[in-house]
Each structure stands twice: as structure tokens, then as C-alpha cells.
């Protein structure tokens, strides 16, 4: 589904990603871990199409298409979803109006008929239940005045609404209390199917108790330096990164 080869990317002339190789197949869950500043969020942003970053080398294909040639919105419509580490507040724009446009663009891409007003409301109700998001929040402005937990639930709610092929969740667990973490993580697993794939970026093993990864990668200084199965996350939790990164220290 996603094939990344030798991806290099920089911001303001500074190289952050220095040759990433990543293969994600349908039905898989990948976890990307690594110390702060290793390039995890940059990788997520570059795959989503954030124009702040410049890809200097390498390729990324998504469902056979050249991902890097697509605009950020075209990637979203094609089924790439980025769960933001810091969801943005948009005063005056209601969740309902925002989602109406987003869902309609996604359906247009899939060649599906536009939803009726009643159909859209029904979808909003169903999907807000996935993450136990208070349905009243959908009539409020996007993320405005939402608590940290509500913002992250709202990310997964939007993911449920858009039904992406590939979801990249950037530290969706940061800033969550234990209950919110369980709800958010359970929501993500409910949305997982053999047809889609999830890439979770996280610092902590505790998220992976719920979202069990098939593959765990360690990103360090812009490269994937180690790949393993779910036991790798447990080992990292216990022993830290030192045993892995010593060889790479400059």
C-alpha cells in the first residue's frame, strides 16, 4: 500500500530525513518509535504532504501512485489520514460544516454519491460513538475549547468519518489520561480492517497494549536503524534506546 524508498527531506536547508525505507501493506499496523528529534513527526508530515518540508531524494508510492507528486488535499482524498499531534483550533468553523466538506471531497474521489443531509447526520452520530465523543461537540467550532482528550478523540472521530486506507497517527497518545488513552486506542483498533493500514508514532509502549503492532521501527537521526516485532517495543520500554543508538552516535 505504501512504499517509501530512500526518502530524504529537509526544512530550511536542514536535512531531517536521511534515507527512510518503509513498506506498509494492507491490514498491517506499524509503530514508529525513537528518541525526540529523530524525525518521526517530520516523516508523518512529509507523507501527508506538508509543503514546509522539501523532499530532496527518494520516492514514496501509495497504492501504486506517486505520493510525492500529489497535493496535500489530493493525498487526503485518496485515503491518507494524518492524526495531528497538536490538532488546530479553528474558531467559528463548526465540526459539522468542516466534516461535511471533507466527507464530500472524499466521496467525490471514491466516485460515491454525495450524502443526504440525514445520511450525513447519521454518519456523524455513528462515528462519534466510536470514540465516545459527545455528539454536542460536533456542533461546536473545530477543536475550540476542547480538552486535550477531546481533541485527540476528535482526530479519531474524523478518521472514522473519512475511512482512510492509510492512517498515520502522530503521537495520538500524548497528553491523554488513562481513560482517554483507552478510548482513543480502542477507537483506532475498531477502525482497523484487513483493507487498511495504520502507522502509529509513539514514545510509549502503553499505546501498543491496545493497538498491537505487526512491525516496530526505531527511527534515529532521520533513518530507520532497527525493525522488529511487537516485542521490540517492550524491550525499548525496559532498556531505552541506548543499546541501539550507540553505534550511530557521532
Amino acid at each position: 500500500m505504501l512504499s517509501v524508498k530512500n526518502l530524504h527531506a529537509s526544512v530550511d536547508g536542514k536535512e531531517i530525513l536521511r534515507g527512510i525505507d518503509l513498506e506498509v501493506r494492507a491490514g498491517e499496523v506499524h509503530a514508529i518509535m525513537g528518541p525526540n528529534g529523530s524525525g518521526k513527526s517530520t516523516l508523518a508530515s512529509v507523507l501527508a504532504g506538508n509543503e514546509k518540508f522539501t523532499v530532496t531524494e527518494g520516492s514514496a508510492t501509495f497504492q501504486g501512485q506517486d505520493l510525492l507528486a500529489m497535493s496535500i488535499e489530493d493525498r487526503a482524498r485518496a485515503g491518507v489520514f494524518l492524526g495531528f499531534q497538536y490538532p488546530v483550533e479553528i474558531p467559528g468553523v463548526t465540526m459539522a460544516n468542516f466534516m461535511k466538506l471533507a466527507v464530500s471531497e472524499r466521496r467525490k474521489f471514491l466516485g460515491e454519491e454525495p450524502l443526504s443531509a440525514a445520511g450525513f447526520l447519521k454518519l456523524m452520530r455513528e462515528k462519534s460513538a466510536v470514540v465516545e465523543l459527545d455528539s454536542k461537540l460536533t456542533s461546536r467550532a473545530v477543536n475550540e475549547g476542547f480538552s486535550g482528550g477531546e481533541k485527540k478523540k476528535n482526530e479519531i472521530f474524523q478518521m472514522a468519518m473519512l475511512d482512510p486506507q492509510l492512517a498515520i497517527l502522530d503521537e495520538t497518545d500524548s497528553g491523554l489520561d488513562i481513560d482517554a488513552l483507552r478510548i482513543v486506542a480502542t477507537g483506532v483498533t475498531k477502525l482497523h480492517t484487513p483493507q487498511n493500514a495504520t502507522v502509529v508514532i509513539t514514545h510509549y509502549q502503553r499505546l501498543l497494549d491496545y493497538i498491537v503492532p505487526d512491525v516496530v521501527h526505531v527511527l534515529y537521526k532521520g533513518r530507520i536503524i532497527h525493525t522488529g516485532d511487537k516485542s521490540l517495543a517492550l524491550k525499548l520500554e525496559k532498556e531505552g534506546y541506548d543499546w541501539l543508538i550507540n553505534d550511530y552516535k557521532e
Partner: protein, 273 residues
């Protein structure tokens, strides 16, 4: 502007250059391109008035609210008009004004709070583009004690346009316990557009609560990125953000169908910016 024109056609047209409302009016009044108009709302009566400026004429509007009268005014500027509006409010009256400037107009408001517990709120929005220049002037006079006023003016300027807000809250020496607020918030859409925001206070009483402020910002790039990541085009995201910014002013006019028609007019103008 078809939706807007259709909407106001259903309202009661004001005949001549004066109108007196003696009881609660059942439907909104509308005046199109009035050059001179005086509207009186009798004690305890209430009315809604829509004023539309389609032609670039000079206009003078005088509003008189008697004791406990209520009046909602929505003034829409679709042409480069020079318009003056004066509202005189007796005690206990409530006047709510919404001014929407979609052209390089010059709109000037003077509010006289002449009786205790009179309340005035004014919401203004201007949207200018190309070489348009619009000015919204507001002078709120708290002449007696115990009155309140609340104004919020939002401006959006693109192209090489200039948008000006000049506001003044005047509090007379005896106007104790005045509660006055004045806010100006603006968005610049281009490097060559200009905003002039001058909210001012002139206070001669010592027991008052007054606040004012002005901000000028740009389109929030993070919000645009967020919306595009959900599949919205750049144009859709910009429009949604501008509508979000302007929406509370436009929809506050209190006439639901007019608010929606106005919002479409704002969105249409935005679409070309």
C-alpha cells in the same frame, strides 16, 4: 446578490422618508437606497429594519427609540455609499445594529444613549478587495448613567484595499456605571492590503467599566494545512476560515434567512479575493 434581493423583497417596504412603529411589528421593514429616512419606534414597541445600499448615493438615517423600545437594524452596503446613521435611545431601549460593508463605502454611526439602562450593540463587518477603500466610523456617546454598549467590528482586506475602523466611546462626566466595550479584529489577505484600526475611549466619569482593543492578523496557515489534510482545497479552507471569522457578525442580525443570504454574499465576494 440574487438570494439577498429575493430575501428582502419579502419584507415590508418603507414608503416615504419616515416610519413610525407604534406596536410590535410582525415582519421586518426594508428600505433600499434611502437618501433620507427617519424611523421612530414608540415606547415599548419593537421592530426590525433592513437597509440596503445598492447605488452609490449619499444616505442619512435617523433612528429614534423611545422608552423601552427595541430595534434591530441590519445595514448592507453593496455600493460605494457615503452613509450616516444616528441612533438616539431613550431609557430602557435596546438597539442592535449590524453593518455589513461589501464595497468601498463610507459608513458613519453615531449612537446617543440618552436614557438610563439604554443598551446598544453594534456588529460590523467589512470586506474590501482590489483598490477599494472603506471606512467604518462609530461614535458611541454614553450621556447618562447606567447604559451599556458593546461593539465588535471585523475587517478583511485583500488586494491593495484599505479598510478603516475609527471608533470612539465617549463617557460623559455624569455617566457613572457605564459598561462599554469596543473590539476591532482584522485579517489581511495580502501584503499590499492595509487595515487602520483605531478604537478609542474618552472617559470623564470615574465609576465605569470600559474596554477596547484591536488586532490585525493573517489567515492562520496551520488551520489551512489542517483543513487541507482532511481533503479541503486551499480555496475551500480559506473560505471556511473567513466565514468562521465573519460568521458571528453576519448571523447576529436576528433574521435567520437574511443572515444566510448575507453569508452567501460574503462567501461570493471572498471567492474572488
Amino acid at each position: 446578490m440574487a438570494a439577498l434581493t429575493d430575501t428582502i423583497r419579502r419584507f415590508a417596504a418603507v414608503e416615504g422618508d419616515s416610519l413610525r412603529v407604534a406596536a410590535a411589528a410582525s415582519q421586518p421593514f426594508v428600505a433600499v437606497d434611502p437618501q433620507q429616512l427617519r424611523v421612530e419606534v414608540a415606547a415599548g414597541a419593537s421592530a426590525q429594519l433592513v437597509v440596503v445600499h445598492e447605488k452609490p448615493l449619499a444616505s442619512s438615517l435617523s433612528l429614534l427609540l423611545e422608552r423601552d423600545a427595541r430595534l434591530q437594524v441590519t445595514e448592507i452596503f453593496l455600493a460605494g455609499v457615503s452613509a450616516e446613521t444616528e441612533a438616539v435611545q431613550a431609557s430602557g431601549s435596546n438597539c442592535c445594529i449590524t453593518a455589513v460593508l461589501l464595497a468601498g463605502a463610507d459608513a458613519s454611526y453615531r449612537i446617543d444613549l440618552d436614557g438610563a439602562h439604554a443598551e446598544n450593540s453594534l456588529g460590523g463587518l467589512f470586506l474590501v478587495d482590489d483598490n477599494e477603500h472603506c471606512v467604518l466610523k462609530l461614535r458611541t456617546n454614553h450621556r447618562v448613567a447606567d447604559c451599556s454598549s458593546d461593539s465588535s467590528v471585523k475587517g478583511i482586506a485583500g488586494g491593495s484595499a484599505v479598510g478603516e475602523f475609527r471608533g470612539l466611546v465617549y463617557v460623559a462626566p455624569d455617566a457613572q456605571r457605564t459598561d462599554a466595550r469596543q473590539q476591532s479584529r482584522n485579517i489581511l489577505l495580502s501584503d499590499t492590503a492595509r487595515i487602520v484600526a483605531e478604537p478609542q475611549l474618552e472617559i470623564y466619569a470615574d465609576d465605569v467599566r470600559c474596554s477596547h482593543g484591536a488586532t490585525v492578523g493573517q489567515i492562520d496557515a496551520e488551520a489551512i494545512l489542517y483543513m487541507r489534510q482532511r481533503g479541503l482545497s486551499l480555496a475551500q479552507a480559506r473560505r471556511l476560515q473567513i466565514e468562521g471569522f465573519a460568521g458571528d457578525i453576519v448571523r447576529r442580525c436576528g433574521i435567520g434567512e437574511l443572515g444566510e443570504a448575507l453569508m452567501s454574499a460574503v462567501a461570493r465576494k471572498m471567492g474572488n479575493m
